[in-house]
Structures are given as C-alpha cells and as structure tokens.
Symmetry: C2
Amino acid sequence: MREPDKRAALLLIGNELLTGKVRDANTQPLAELLFRHGIALSRVVMVGDERDTIVQEVEALASSYGWVFTSGGVGPTHDDITMDAVAVAQGTHVVTHPELAAMIRARYGERCSEAHLRMANVPEGSILETTEGGPPAETREWPAVRCKNVWIFPGVPEAFRMKLGILSAVLRRHGHTSGLCSAAVFTTQEESAMVAILDQLVREVPSISIGSYPKWFDETYKTKVTFDGESEALVKDAAEKLVARLPAGTAWFG
Amino acid sequence: MREPDKRAALLLIGNELLTGKVRDANTQPLAELLFRHGIALSRVVMVGDERDTIVQEVEALASSYGWVFTSGGVGPTHDDITMDAVAVAQGTHVVTHPELAAMIRARYGERCSEAHLRMANVPEGSILETTEGGPPAETREWPAVRCKNVWIFPGVPEAFRMKLGILSAVLRRHGHTSGLCSAAVFTTQEESAMVAILDQLVREVPSISIGSYPKWFDETYKTKVTFDGESEALVKDAAEKLVARLPAGTAWFG
C-alpha cells in the first residue's frame, strides 16, 4: 500500500441512485468509520452505470486521495462494470483471481456457473484484504478487493457493511487508531440568536471544527451544535463554553 | 432561464455529511422528482464547508449541466457560505435582496436582527421562484432562490422538500411534464442465474434502461429488476418479457 495520506474519497455508482429508486445507505457508515480512524472523507461523487464516466472519476480520485472507495456495479450482470473501469483507470486490465475463483467453486459446488465465476474477475494485481490480514482461504473470510489505493466495494448495503469490518481492521493494523473526537450540544435557541456567540467561539478555538444545524419541526430542540477536533479536552472545553454562554436551561450535551 | 437541457447535477454541501453525523436525505427525493419530469440527474457531488471547493464545484457543474442544485450551507452562521460561493462561481457577488429582506422583517417584526437579515443575502441577479410563478409577496410564499441555472436549496431535509414543491411547479410551467416511466419485477431467482436472460433482454430493447439489484437477507425475493424508458408500452412489454422467461411462479410485478 502506498504511504497512506489522511484523505479519502468515495465513488457511488448506480443508475438506481440517480433515478431516486434507492436511497444511498453507504456514505454515512463509511464516513463515520473513517472519521473515527482519523481519515477525512473529503469528497463523494455519485455517477451512473457508464463505463467511461467511472474510469474518468476513478482516475481523478485515485490520483488525488490516499484512500478511494467505490460502491456498486459489482456483480455478474450487464450493468456491473466497476471492476473493468477501475482496472482501466489504474492502467491495467481484469483477470480471474485464482484464489477468488477457488472460493466461488467451493461455495457453489456443482451449481457453479460461468456467471458465478465472473465474480472472481478483478483488476490485475488486486490484493484480497481480510480482517485477520491472512489469505482468505486461511481466514475463511470473503475478502475485500483492493487495487492499489482503490477499494472496490459492493453497492448492496448489507454487503457494503461487511467490507467495512475488513476496512476497519486494516486501518487498525496500519496504526490509524486515534481519530477525531466529537461532541454535540442541543439547544432550544434558534441558530440566528446564537450567531455572535458562535462567531466568537470559532475565533477562540481555531483547532475545533464547529458546525451548527437547525432542526425544524422538533419539539425538543431548535439547533444542534457539533464540535470536532483531535484533542478530547479541547473539544469538551469548547462545548462547555457554548453551554455556559447560552441562557441557563436552554442547552444540554448530546 | 437559459434554454434548459435535460441533464441535472446536485452539489451537497456540509461537513456533517462527510463526517457521518448526518445521512443525506435530499438526493433521493430530488432524483425521483427530476426523473418523473424527464430530466436526468447525472452527477451528485458531496463536499465540505470550504468556500474555494464550493466555488470550483459550482463553476464546473453550472457550465456542464442545464439544471444545478445546491443543498446546504444556507443560513446565518459562520459555516453558511453557499450564497457567497455560488455568487463568485457565477461571476457576481452577494447583495441584499429587497423583497426577501422585506419578507424577513414582516415575519420577525421587532425581533428581527442582523442575523435574520443575512438570510436575504443572495447572489446579485437571483430570481425568487414560487409555485404560482408570481412574486413571493403576492403568492405569500417563501420562495426558492435561483441564480442563473443554479438553484440554492437549504440542507435541512424538511426545508429542502418545501423547495421541491416549487421546483416541481416550475418544471411543469416549462413543459417538463412527461418523464420516464418505470416498472419493476421482483423474483426469487438469484441474479447470477438470470445473466443470460437479462443480457438477451438488454439487446432486444435498447431504448429501455434495465437495472438488476440483488437483495440480501430478504425472505420475499432475491433480485429486483427495473425497467426505465420513455414509452410506457415498451417498459411494460420488457417487464412482461422477463417474467415470461423466468421459471413459472418465481417472478412478479412490483
């Protein structure tokens, strides 16, 4: 793996997302996992099942971000073109991975068809990642496919989440353990009533990223204010400062 | 409005999305609405609350797509920088819109503060769009802000959905009434078992976009196959062909 920097990008692939048939469920759990491991998800792009578009996007993202993830377009049917597109973007081509092919044959036995075996097609040079770090055959795990800095994940949310378990283990093995801390304050104050207080706080604690999110139609609070930073003490301190500066009884910790 | 083409893009703005604190809820309803009106959402990009990044994205999208939407970064606090960024990207700057300022003053009365009035700041030349097509003061509606081909929507999902009502009315007024039709077939067949049938169908009905989506851990079906096209008859015909070619009793219409 190339020296990993701390920035990541995600490419969501699928006409079903762009036509509103399906609501993306993969960005949020990946974003949360990366945040916890101290890697900043900086950009998410959603495109349709068009080979040239995917090639172009993967090229652009893989050259700018240390960690790139694709979601979707992995499978045996005509619209599953991600493996091929990632291969082209990374300057290589698709080959049958013997270890994956052996696993597929073992799983499907006599029912194993050519369509099943297409699932063993990956960009040449791809690595099979597992939670244990060992080869899939020994760890008895269905692996995640990584081609250089591009992780090729399935789009089906249940399958995507399984790959996140592998990613999390790999990140821990590479020492990405201490991520950012986060705190939240909920308040019955309207966002517009807190502008001066928030502006002041932003200037006071430049190392903390402060976000302010109004909630509509909620009886319990009007605004949520979030604090992100590398130091738990500073994050906590900033959140406490805000609560102390708001009218008594109008704010509490999330 | 410039002669609208049929392609759209959406820019989602907000650190809360990229850190996994919040799951995007705006892409799916916008995608569905555009699809229904025959406009193809072709690209969605998600970025953080960074002014230069937003300027760059809006520039790129506004020059390539007839319809561009931004979601988020609209409000009175320090991280609300979308109005400014869209203005710069469109070669102009932010001004106080007198009609919006009057509406804000009327709504908040004596409580109206400078922070409230910041919500009247929009890119110069922006149009206030309403469901009726008349000025907001007459239609008594909170308008949607459009700067050339860029619609600036709030990120809060409840507020975003209100703007979709306005967008839908505008699309109808511009004659975007007949969109694509869609049909779905659910089947207990595995995706890998249908590859040959689907490949054949894709060749037979080139005007129909066919998608195949495996469902995991569902007791009722294994794969959903979708059909999108401009002709309701052709869409229906393609879906019926698939059901007829699958084993009896394994597939049904969605």
